[in-house]
């Protein structure tokens, strides 16, 4: 048993090294002064400074933030309402909807991208920020609904009954009882939707027009057009932002208890 456990542990360590090695190398190289070679030429922050002066990059960042904020608000409102609406449905209908909600998450993203692109083109809608936002709301609604529903089902129904017994109408019950209890889940859903939207490449790739370049699209074209050290710095920054979002989300979930 113990010998077996040692072997398992060795493979586990290897797996963790595999997961973290590349990211650490990437972050380390974003501080490398060498322009093209992989040899270490001393530590520098100049690639980070170069990022601040790259106007196309700043414009892409602004686009990404606008898209993420608007699509997160849209998906949280629509997805949240859906989660509440499902409460009032029969068990079988709830199960049917739950099954269907997984579909947008399972389907290959390439396919979702081309389907939306075709849809917009056939409607003669010019591709741009609007079409990207419409698309991002589609994949964020299921995420939000699933997260809020998970929390909603854990709530003690007695709390809402108590509010009703004390004379609260449906709106007051929601405003003073249900929503405060759900708040951590709602914020968690907001963070997840925001992160997923900010990171999305494929749906954006197919639905964005020329003026709607986002950060991932910019990263993609930088990688494709030849490796410059600025990508390393940009990538390291994106890693830091993602980690910050996860940390915040965990902090919120801890308060949930």
């Amino acid at each position: 048993m113990t010998r077996k456990a040692v072997g398992l542990r060795a493979v586990s360590l290897l797996a963790l090294l595999f997961l973290y090695g590349p990211i650490l190398v990437l972050v380390a190289y974003s501080f490398n002064a060498a322009h093209l070679s992989m040899a270490w030429h001393g530590t520098t922050l100049k690639w980070y400074v170069a990022l601040i002066h790259d106007e196309a990059l700043l414009a892409a960042t602004a686009n990404s933030v606008v898209i993420a904020v608007v699509s997160t608000i849209g998906a949280t409102v629509l997805g949240g309402l859906l989660a509440f609406g499902m409460e009032g449905m029969s068990r079988s209908r709830q199960q049917l909807l739950e099954g269907s909600l997984v579909l947008p998450l399972m389907i290959p993203e390439v396919m979702m991208g081309v389907a939306l692109m075709l849809f917009f083109l056939l409607l003669n809608m010019p591709l741009g920020l609007t079409t990207v936002i419409l698309g991002h709301i589609v994949f964020n609604i299921p995420l939000v609904t699933i997260m809020i529903r998970t929390r909603l089902r854990k709530l003690d129904p007695a709390l809402r009954e108590a509010a009703a017994d004390l004379g609260a109408d449906a709106w007051d019950t929601f405003r003073y009882v249900t929503f405060p209890l759900l708040r951590p889940a709602v914020w968690g859903a907001v963070l997840v939707a925001f992160t997923v939207s900010l990171d999305d490449f494929l749906v954006t790739f197919f639905t964005a027009g020329p003026g709607a370049t986002t950060l991932p699209l910019k990263v993609y074209s930088m990688i494709k057009s030849g490796v410059t050290p600025e990508i390393n710095a940009l990538s390291a920054l994106l890693v830091a932002v993602s980690m910050a979002c996860v940390a915040l989300s965990l902090h919120l979930q801890r308060r949930e208890v």
Binding site: L19, Y20, L78, V110, M117
Partner: protein, 296 residues
């Protein structure tokens, strides 16, 4: 559709009637921007291509028949092979990891799981790009191999099928670990002990006790890795060469480069059929194991 009232649980029928209306906006949204576009792709897959791209609405099955061409068959075959290999590699790496996490002290488990999930939350492009740095001709792996004297000529690692599979394993390993962890966590250690006490060999303990009892997790993990692998675009696009094109790249090529929308749509539906088959396998397994598989 949403308006029928069936009082469930604690909410009174009248109230539930009112609250189920809340679902309407999101359902309309999903119908309009998800189901309609998918239906459109399906319809177009049976249409013909115009002379200058675009669509001519004439029913034909030619697009699906075109896919029987060896060139497309090869790409489909590739994709299936890479996705299968990725799933197998994820299992080999992920099972020990899931096992060790599930058997470690309970208060460490959330932190260890977080450690596995954390890379998943960083941008996929960035993670794939990190492998370009490692696998490049003058990359770290080649540098290390040369300076250790293991190889004399630098290896061509980037833009190969190997690079694609490495990238896919890297991208989707967390999807394998989570369901396996849940399954191993539920596996009673006493059963494994009993097998050891009865002088089962190490292989027998694994294949006759551990695997059958963690089957739902194994199938779940494999499906969750296989689905995004088979439909991947970024990984083969960045790490693969012209010969390691996968279905996702073919779809993108048909739509944006060749501008043959009907053929691209047909390819999309073949991909969707493969994905749905994997999902069906998952649900069949979940039904058979007749337990609450996803409680969370």
């Amino acid at each position: 559709m949403q308006t029928r009232t069936t009082g469930s649980g604690t909410v009174s029928p009248r109230e539930s009637c009112r609250s189920s209306w809340l679902a309407v906006p999101a359902l309309v949204w999903m119908a309009l921007f998800f189901l309609v576009p998918l239906g459109l792709v399906f319809a177009i897959s049976f249409a013909s291509r115009g002379t200058y791209g675009g669509i001519v609405w004439e029913f034909t099955t030619a697009n699906y028949l075109d896919l029987l061409h060896p060139l497309y068959g090869k790409i489909l075959g590739h994709s299936l092979w890479y996705a299968t290999l990725t799933t197998a590699c994820c299992f080999v790496l992920g099972f020990p990891l899931a096992y060790v996490i599930a058997r470690s002290p309970a208060r460490w488990q959330p932190a260890l799981l977080l450690l596995v999930m954390l890379p998943f939350w960083t941008n996929f492009l960035v993670r794939t790009y990190a492998w370009m740095i490692l696998l490049r001709h003058d990359g770290l792996i080649n540098n290390a191999l040369v300076s250790l004297g293991l190889v004399t000529d630098r290896l061509e690692l980037l833009y190969t099928p190997t690079a694609v599979v490495i990238g896919l394993v890297y991208g989707y390993l967390p999807f394998m670990v989570l369901p396996l962890y849940v399954a191993v966590e539920r596996l009673d250690p006493a059963l494994v002990e009993a097998a050891w006490d009865l002088y089962a060999s190490r292989w027998a303990v694994f294949s006759r006790v551990v695997v059958p009892l963690t089957m739902p997790g194994i199938v779940g993990g494999c499906v969750l890795v296989f689905i995004p692998s088979i439909g991947s675009f970024i990984t083969p696009d960045l790490l693969g060469g012209a010969r390691s094109m996968m279905i996702g790249n073919l779809i993108q090529h048909e739509y944006l480069v060749a501008r043959d929308w009907p053929l691209g749509s047909a390819v999309s539906f073949v991909l969707m059929a493969v994905v749905m088959a994997a999902v069906a396998l998952h649900y069949r397994q979940a039904d058979r194991s007749a337990g609450p598989v996803d409680e969370r």
